[in-house]
Symmetry: C2
Subunit: 438 residues, 2 copies
């Protein structure tokens, strides 16, 4: 460990280091608040002036931050936000929390990471520790980040700066696990980076799990989410078969859950949504091709998932068919646009994909989601949520489709007033000839 | 509920019913012992005269039965075994615990169930309750069992006899869960059958979970084991990729396990083995074709698994290659023939498949397994276990391959005396240039 690293380590241990966090979204902002609450000075970097201002005004826009927490740490000056990336030069450590989306061809869009690394390389001072939290393919830290930062800064890894990968594990809406108490996997590039990474995250996070390299750390996050993609896809495929065999997949899963070992329940639905599970595995698929390797499980799981919105549209069409109605011109009311219950996030939400499929067939679409006032589908269709769910709205619809199982939805009320229901989330527990289930 | 059913229910409740169990293997014999220990008279039916005699002599041959238990229930007359299936006529309820293998073309071999049903139909008295525990495709109870029994007996379902499906959930070697305390899913064909099924199993099993039909019950078991097949195959595929990317899959899994929700660890290996996971999902694949449905996840998982023995042979070959040796003529010592640790079962064991692959390349094969003195591979090759694992045996091998991670294997001893090790089970924790891992 050189003297610069030694100095940084001491600064971290004394909580005198300033931490910069790039990206103040659902990952970066909660992380910034946790550090600041632990008396570590944080500068948040954010391209959106609106978000930066909100933070500095103590106005929280992330569901998982508890009321008052953001206000407290901005008021006491431990956290401030800026759009001026040159202030990276004031930071001792920098954590990157930018998005890693896929483009339309399911190719990783690394531009946010590249741009963050370029900004860091341009402005950082010598002796800066850098950690990436964005989910990405293994080898990103070593082979993508490192050369950009070295090129932009003219500095050298392990002498002037240190790199680490430690994926965020944020689960929006999780009541038990949040940023601070979710164990964090830390993979530094080299021994010094590992020591610095453990020291920095140790200031804020309860449990750390060190691994031997960034690529191991990168793979961990992908394994976690690939596991989910594969299992949701499996149960979706089985749900489709069960539909043909007159078997309730929901009853099957409840019974399988009684096995006290070796089983974890996943539930079917109109597809997978959110910012992680539909994306992360395809990062791995992308890099695997570089090793002449086909990830057949991810590929198959992806295929199943891609077909789900179409299959759900067919299900809705066949339910209407029992009432001697076509999709064309029928009024379809969708309940729920979020990708999972009780959150206000519709990124990659399968509800929107089903709506697109149905809209293409000239159905008359409306939707209600108490958390999401407006949606824009992939095909650019725009809808505004009904202001509230009334008897009339339900009775007026030729078919009500439950796409998200929000806790506030009143199943009895929905069953009472609807003429026909396609329940894609097992929201309705009572038996009724009106209800068709996935 | 007719009077015959009423009579049977009363007999069950008073523990006066005699229960016949067909097949005294790893499912039937522990079940027979549990009923007998709960003061229910059991007649065990077994085609093998040798096994029947062993039971009657109080000589246990199943690992999961505790010492003395079988002896106690045969001594006090609560359990006796016979090869005479006409004694089915003395039983009030019959439980079928016969194997359901796949043939060479992965087609379900239903002959054991068919033959059991034919015997029951031929000999049962009117008013008999029949439950199937063998894993099979959904609809078996209704569409395969029922017609055979009605034809052979001339009796009618729901009048003269009742049918139920309740899969065994035996996990050989499990220290916490055994027949009595593993919750049991019960799916009767009709309400009367369900009541009788709950009454009968309630005599012996701590927790019952009723479901609405045999086909749901059949699907539950297949979901449980398909879940395992798919996840083991996923992690096997990722292990192969990690091998190419210089990432330890074992380290990745240990780190992923620190995620406190939404993850369950599965471990890679040379393939899947045992009597359930390699077979059960293909029962579902078989019936799905009848519904014009392709189970792509099971198919993909099966493909990965089928390739594992070949891939492992390549791994062994490339390890030898570092020592400038070909497989041809090299001495390969396999450690472990059982399909999982600390059991004496080599059914569908991947070790045997790897041995076959290596033997084809003219390697000189030996093996050591303290639980399995003799093996016969799928291709008819026969080997006898070394009597013990000596320094000389390890030193003499050009390559030692760890195929089963038996608890008695001493990793330090193996590393010390071997020249080259291919560890397919993460048995060796120390780092050594001798050791190649999956």
């Amino acid at each position: 460990m050189n003297s610069a690293a030694q100095k940084l380590l001491e600064k971290l241990e004394k909580r005198e280091a300033v931490i910069g966090i790039l990206g103040l979204g659902y990952v970066g902002l909660p992380l910034a608040v946790v550090f600041a609450r632990k008396n570590v000075r944080v500068i948040g970097f954010e391209k959106s002036g609106k978000k930066a201002k909100a933070v500095n005004d103590g106005k929280n826009y992330i569901g998982d931050i508890k009321p008052g927490e953001l206000e407290a740490v901005t008021a006491d000056g431990m956290l401030r936000a800026t759009t001026d990336f040159s202030e990276i030069g004031k930071c001792d450590a920098v954590i990157i929390c930018v998005p890693t989306p896929l483009d339309k061809f399911k190719k990783p869009d690394m531009s946010y990471i590249e741009s963050a690394c370029a900004e860091i390389g341009k402005y950082m001072k010598s002796g800066t520790f850098i950690s990436l939290e964005s989910t990405t393919y293994p080898t990103t830290t070593e082979n993508l980040m490192r050369p950009i930062i070295e090129r932009e800064s003219g500095m050298k890894l392990d002498e002037d700066f240190w790199l680490c990968f430690s994926a965020e594990r944020v689960d929006p809406g999780n009541k038990n696990y949040h940023t601070e108490n979710t164990p964090k996997v830390v993979g530094g590039l080299g021994e010094t980076a590992q020591k610095l990474g453990m020291a920095m995250y140790g200031l804020a996070i309860t449990t750390l799990h060190p691994v031997s390299s960034p690529r191991v750390s990168e793979m961990v996050k992908i394994l976690e989410n690939t596991y989910r993609l594969v299992n949701i896809s499996l149960v979706n495929e089985l749900a489709l078969l069960c539909g043909k065999m007159d078997i309730s997949i929901w009853e099957v899963i409840e019974a399988a859950k009684t096995k006290p070992y070796g089983f974890q329940a996943f539930y079917p639905g109109p597809g997978i949504g959110g910012h992680c599970i539909p994306l992360d595995p395809f990062y791995l698929e992308y890099i695997a091709k570089n090793y002449n390797f086909d990830l057949t499980m991810i590929n198959t799981a992806g295929n199943i998932n891609n077909q789900m919105p179409h299959r759900m549209a067919v299900k809705i069409s066949f339910a209407l068919n029992k009432h001697k109605k076509p999709l064309n011109g029928s009024k379809i009311l969708f309940l729920g646009a979020a990708y999972k219950p009780d959150i206000d996030d519709d990124r990659e939400s399968p509800a929107l994909l089903v709506i697109d499929e149905i809209a293409k067939k000239q159905a008359d679409i409306s939707y209600y989601d108490p958390f999401i006032p407006k949606i824009v589908t992939e095909h650019g269709r725009e809808y505004t949520s009904l202001p509230m769910l009334t008897e009339e709205a339900l009775a007026d619809a030729d078919c009500v489709v439950i796409t998200t199982n929000h806790g506030v939805f009143d199943a009895d009320f929905i069953v009472e007033h609807s003429r026909l229901i396609v329940d894609l989330r097992n929201a309705i527990k009572v038996k009724s000839p009106k209800v068709f289930k996935l």
